[in-house]
Symmetry: C2
Subunit: 399 residues, 2 copies
Amino acid sequence: MPTVGIIGGGQLARMTAPAAIALGVRLRVLAADPDDSAAQVVVDAPVGDYRDAAAVTAFAQGCDVVTFDHEHVPMPLLEDLVAGGAVVRPRPQALRLAQDKAAMRACLTSLDVPCPRWATVRDKAELAGFAAEAGWPVVLKTPRGGYDGKGVLVAENPDDAAAWLARAGQPGGTGLLLAEERVAFEQELAVLIARSPSGQAAAWPVVQTVQVDGICREVTAPAPGLDPGLAAEATRIGLRIAGELDVVGVLAVEMFQTAAGPDGAPGDAGGRVLVNELAMRPHNSGHWGMDGAVTAQFEQHLRAVLDYPLGETSLTAPAVAMANVLGGRSSADGGSAMGIDERVHHLFAADPGAKVHLYGKQVRPGRKIGHVTVLGEDMTSVRARASAAARWLRDGVGE
Amino acid sequence: MPTVGIIGGGQLARMTAPAAIALGVRLRVLAADPDDSAAQVVVDAPVGDYRDAAAVTAFAQGCDVVTFDHEHVPMPLLEDLVAGGAVVRPRPQALRLAQDKAAMRACLTSLDVPCPRWATVRDKAELAGFAAEAGWPVVLKTPRGGYDGKGVLVAENPDDAAAWLARAGQPGGTGLLLAEERVAFEQELAVLIARSPSGQAAAWPVVQTVQVDGICREVTAPAPGLDPGLAAEATRIGLRIAGELDVVGVLAVEMFQTAAGPDGAPGDAGGRVLVNELAMRPHNSGHWGMDGAVTAQFEQHLRAVLDYPLGETSLTAPAVAMANVLGGRSSADGGSAMGIDERVHHLFAADPGAKVHLYGKQVRPGRKIGHVTVLGEDMTSVRARASAAARWLRDGVGE
């Protein structure tokens, strides 16, 4: 059986391990640290720096395919890897759009994919010029390296952006920031697509995501009450991006659903879904599928990068809700003295149907340390259960 | 988080790994060989002989709880382990009944649990005496060490049993054989129960099993067309055995469903279900739950031995079918030249909904090397799909 190498040892690589075990696929993980989430549970997990060409090259030599837990591997290194004969999926030309949000915006715009208004800005004058058209506040993003709300600033005026612009202009900085219109959205959606080297693509049902402070808190599948025409439009956009960019593996497309245009038609030309972010790897918005889809994103990602035919993506229950477990305050800081193990005991007593996934990570306030999924008939109920379970695991105290 | 140690590195330990990863529980496996099914995928998998007291004691020292992939660990060794302070679940007093089928029969009979007629026999005369009451053929079992049809002989007459009786009587032999009435059954059923040290118990729906040459081929959940009264009776028997024997962890109770008695009442006093075999560990008849139950047996076994509250056992689809993948003939012996990896490719193209679980085992004809599960609305359809998938993976040729 083939060996799949994942660069990065976070929770995405960790959650790929069960899928590899079932398929009999050999998994290899390049971890930054022996205590990494995935390194705890993967037998073949050498430690090395993903920015070190020698370490990555040595790692890739043991792999039939190389794929990713994160998008931070330097592009020249990946290009050298491919030149040296390694099979890298997704390929660097696609991955650079997940690495660089300004390049991604330019590419999507060239494809006429609906996006929020955007511009790259180098200084306050350019920012003010953009805001004159798009209005304040402006969402500023560092093109590279952001995640979970990091690298995103909502600026009410040019002065709010001064420090970020100065940092971008420094040596080693990106030279510019991505400025985006702040979209008044009805809800946030995510479309997950898996695509194979042979071009087969499969989409999961469109889900709703709820973000708080830039961090995903809840995902509900399918997106409740979503107009079928709009769901089809969102899926079409996801499939188009996957195809045009020649993505291999899982692609997550996060979208804003805006209010209906003047004519009220769903999916009208005025655009009722706008693409917010892309990720070319398994994504938080797809974790629900581990319990709630016939094929989970981690299995599907393995199937895609190995060019196995893709698996069925339908739901295993009418309503599926996933809630992220964030790290709560430590007991030294006024948090509960109850450890995570004891919290799990209590949760299982309270809700025998809650599916708990822990990442083996040290608890830090606000850090994603796991998630909980609940399946059922009624979305209101499963959502309340998942949310209550995640809150309990975070705080260790009742409401 | 706690560490659970499993003695034995077979596929049951392997399939426990994904459950441990999700729960954040640390898993430790005592493997017989570094290539064992579980040792391939579990980071902490020391190699040692389960019959070696020093090896087992050293292994147990790193564990909060010790449990089992198989029932072959010598009883004195387990008793010493408990005397030395290790937490062993199930406890040796219960496990000895899974090790010794004659002891199990005596215990069940003392509890008035319905069983086939049985006796222990030491020679042809005793066997003939038993057959005079129970009729020929007689099912002869070595009380210890049998599995997958090994250790079972259907004797048509005393001479058929001569070699087995002679072997039992040799030094190192068991001294006797277990003789059982051959039951004319309508179907075979299995009841899986999980039970915690605190006494909580949970039962999965009763399933039908189909055995060929003593090896489980198919399991369908729930057992199709099973009378609800009889299902309740079977579950009651399973729960009673788990409680009376103080089992901790998963208990599998394999049963025969016989034709209705003269009064035709389901579950009547004449006994319409008879207990065939017991296993005190996750069991082949529960593999369907990895895809088809809210809580799979491997997660439930971990929860039980750690005394976490048990998980919901309901089905995630109306009909679930599991088929075992057996090793087929090698290409040198006239089998397909297509490797397992290529067979999986073809299977996924033919059936995107088939869930494949491979055990990382060398293919040998008739050896269990994996299983396939299919979920759906209609039992006839999912059963045909699971069966076709397993046959394809075995043979690599169409029908």
